[in-house]
């Protein structure tokens, strides 16, 4: 199975990308291979598992070999193991040969799969081919790109590598490019986004440099990776500064003041009470519980560290993570719904969190939590304002007043929102004044909650459909529930207990405005 289109190894080393002028050597419309260290990272895990199994089986023998002093078991009492068998039958050479052959075969297989794993970035799509016997070929059209994620898992980061994920629309629709050297990954991301925006790449290409050996490539990548760890500077791209800074103290405080802390306190109180009443041994369960919660806090704080969010020409760029760094670029018009929320315990400090619905292209079986959905894990009102302004750049200043003064903090005098009618206030005993919806020329705003305040912003250009529900209780009180249908995510996009006539009016107007907004929306080619 030869591959007529496969080009030689990637040209290298790529120069430091100068934005929008030089394109990465990968994006010239030819087939290229991934970084030569890829098989190590992809297959390394399998090898580790195999070695682990062998070590586990021969543990006692290894201990005896290495520390003969510490093992006091006479050799005769050792459980029969394969090594004894080999010794007994003089099969050492055969076994050694077999191991060598297996290793060579594995190496050849890894090398083959690397050779057959190629990528191509042309003007209209990104393609990846992989597999030796069972070939897969995945192609993602660039005008449907929903975002590009650059992830640096801890181990890959030590080796100076990164993986790129081109997010498509649909379940399990992502094109993964793993692994690439950090600099290449940045350059490729820039190219993909520029191509997706409808601009063409600059024709000036990098001159093919002297072709380095695989070993040199690998050494260079590792060297720069280690350097990056030391310097703490990961992304070589010159990007605008983050518009929000989260002090570590605030991040820690926000995590401690979360709902899970309440659970912890409740559990501790419950256990102490139970222990003092009868079963004293219950006290011992406190320790593992504290460990579990401690691990949870440390992990969520580590994920939130080194947070940055910045507007770029190709969309909003969000970066997270202390050990495993994830950086995502969401192009304009790819945010389907936004929610600004304030948990009760954050209220005295005036902190808010912002989360979005966007297509993440993950498969439905991927249950790992989608951390990037929270684009602002914690921030003050000013932070929220800055983040919202880059997420939905085309709202007019009047609409911003409606969002901030009336929506997030509201309600104030002459509230423009459609709210719960008098007769149904008992259904929203605390929040009837806030519970409401408003249709502006670009978005549908849903305001909820008096204790847990939240505001959802649904851009009309992204609204898929609109629904109106009424159950028997709602009918008796003359109300209805308005539901904005957007792509799946964490944002709540329905609002209950609106007056029936108000809700009907909103339904009709939103349906019409949604069609109009979609007709003039050009953001899928945002440079257009």
């Amino acid at each position: 199975m030869t591959d007529p289109h496969a080009a030689g190894p990637p040209l290298d080393p790529p120069p430091r990308p100068q934005r929008a002028v030089v394109r990465s050597p990968y994006s010239d419309g030819e087939w290229h291979r991934l970084h030569p260290l890829t098989p190590l990272l992809r297959g390394g895990l399998t090898l580790l598992v195999i070695i682990g199994v062998i070590v586990a089986n021969l543990r006692e023998r290894l201990v005896q070999w290495v520390f003969p002093v510490f093992t006091e078991i006479p050799p005769g009492e050792l459980p029969p193991d394969p090594v004894d068998f080999l010794f007994a039958n003089n099969l050492i050479l055969v076994a050694g040969g077999a191991t060598l052959i297996v290793l060579i075969v594995l190496l050849v297989l890894f090398r083959l799969s690397w050779r057959f794993h190629t990528l191509r970035i042309s003007d209209d799509d990104v393609e990846v081919r992989s597999g030796v016997l069972f070939r897969t070929h995945r192609r993602a059209p660039l005008d449907r790109v929903q975002g590009v994620n650059l992830t640096r898992p801890m181990i890959a980061r030590l080796l100076g590598l990164a993986k790129l994920e081109v997010v498509g629309a649909g379940l399990d629709a992502n094109v993964k490019l793993e692994y690439l050297s950090g600099k290449d990954a940045e350059a490729i991301r820039g190219d993909i986004l520029r191509l997706a925006s409808g601009r063409r790449l600059a024709e000036g290409r990098t001159e093919p440099g002297a072709r380095a050996s695989l070993a040199r490539q690998a050494a260079e990548a590792v060297g720069s990776g280690l350097q990056g760890i030391v310097d703490g500077e990961d992304f070589s791209d010159a990007e605008p500064e983050s518009i929000v800074r989260i002090p570590i103290g605030r991040l820690v405080a926000s995590r401690v003041l979360s709902g899970s802390s309440l659970v912890l306190v409740a559990l501790v109180v419950g256990i102490v009470v139970a222990a003092s009443l009868s079963t004293l041994w219950l006290l011992f369960t406190v320790v593992p519980m504290f460990l579990a919660f401690g691990a949870y806090y440390v992990r969520s704080i580590a994920q939130g560290l080194r947070y940055s969010i910045a507007p770029t020409a190709d969309g909003v760029r969000v970066t997270f993570g202390l050990f495993t760094t994830v950086s995502e670029v969401v192009p304009p018009g790819r945010v389907h719904a936004i929610e600004v929320r304030q948990p009760l315990m954050w209220r005295p400090f005036g902190w808010w969190t912002v989360s979005v619905n966007r297509l993440s292209g993950r498969s439905s079986t991927d249950t790992s939590n989608d951390q990037l959905a929270a684009v602002l894990p914690i921030g003050t009102r000013a932070d929220v304002e800055r983040v919202l302004r880059i997420l939905v750049p085309d709202l007019s200043s009047d609409e911003w007043t409606l969002v901030f003064r009336d929506g997030i903090l509201g309600p104030v005098e002459n509230d423009p929102y459609v709210t719960t009618p008098k007769s149904a206030r008992w259904l929203r005993p605390l929040s009837w004044r806030r519970n409401g919806a408003l249709l502006t020329s670009d978005a549908l705003l849903l305001r909820r909650g008096w204790v847990w305040r939240s505001l959802s912003v649904v851009p009309l250009a992204r609204l898929q459909s609109i629904g109106l529900h009424q159950g028997p209780l709602a009918r008796a009180t003359g109300t209805a529930t308005l539901v904005a249908h957007v792509i799946a995510g964490t944002v709540q996009t329905s609002i209950g207990v609106l007056g029936r006539d108000d809700a009907l009016g909103l339904f009709e107007r939103t349906a019409r405005a949604g069609v109009d907004a979609a007709a003039i929306d050009r953001t899928h080619r945002w440079a257009g």
Binding site: R144, S465, I466, G467, R475, A488, V515, A519, R522
Partner: protein, 201 residues
């Protein structure tokens, strides 16, 4: 794929929508119910104006037959189990299933008459339910695909189920009992109209 800039999509679509409606009168309203059943309360979600198309009458027959078959089968199985082995406990699960199917048999004829859909200029409006009313407006440009399914019993009675899929899973517009001609006609119309107003996600 999007409508060309500068030319508003009204002209082709308006005539198209009108054509849709004229042709539909015959195909879509053939052998269907002719009045949407609504809740009695005056605070219901009203019908509004425009023509509502409804489900085929055969849909109720199919539903009654299939649900009735389940009812009879479960009942027979439980009775036989009692006669042969003399045990009693199977009546607990059987009873639950029988109750649910009996309620289903009772409300299906009414429920089927609450379904309705309207082809407006830019969107399809769908409504269903009497106790729990639900109205959804889906812009034609947002449709990702239109699905038609029919089981063996459906084919016998010449009906089909049509499902509209948008990028949002919550849209959930499924029109269960259309005559097969109506379903195919509707699908072709929807696909044609969606093509002229295709938008991004």
């Amino acid at each position: 794929m999007t409508t060309p800039q500068g030319t508003p999509p009204q002209d082709p679509s308006e005539s198209e929508a009108r054509n849709v409606d004229d042709a539909d009168r015959t195909v879509l309203d053939d052998a269907t119910y002719d009045r949407i059943l609504e809740p009695r309360s005056s605070r219901r979600l009203p019908l509004g104006d425009g023509t509502w198309h409804q489900l085929a009458r055969a849909y109720v027959r199919v539903q009654l037959i299939s649900q009735g078959a389940v009812f009879v089968l479960v009942l027979a199985a439980a009775v036989i189990a009692q006669i042969i082995t003399g045990v009693q406990w199977q009546w607990i699960p059987a009873g639950i299933i029988l109750l649910i199917t009996a309620v289903g048999l009772f409300i299906t004829p009414r429920q089927a008459r609450s379904f309705g859909y309207q082809l407006r200029r830019d969107d399809l409006v769908f409504r269903r339910g009497i106790l729990w009313q639900r109205v959804v407006a889906v812009p034609y440009g947002r449709m990702q695909l239109v699905d038609i399914t029919h089981g063996p019993l459906d084919r016998g009675f010449g009906i089909a189920q049509l499902k509209l899929v948008t990028a949002a899973a919550s849209t959930g517009v499924t029109i269960p009992g259309l005559t097969q001609e109506a379903a195919e006609h509707l699908r072709d119309t929807l696909v044609a109209v969606a093509e002229t107003r295709r938008t991004g996600l």
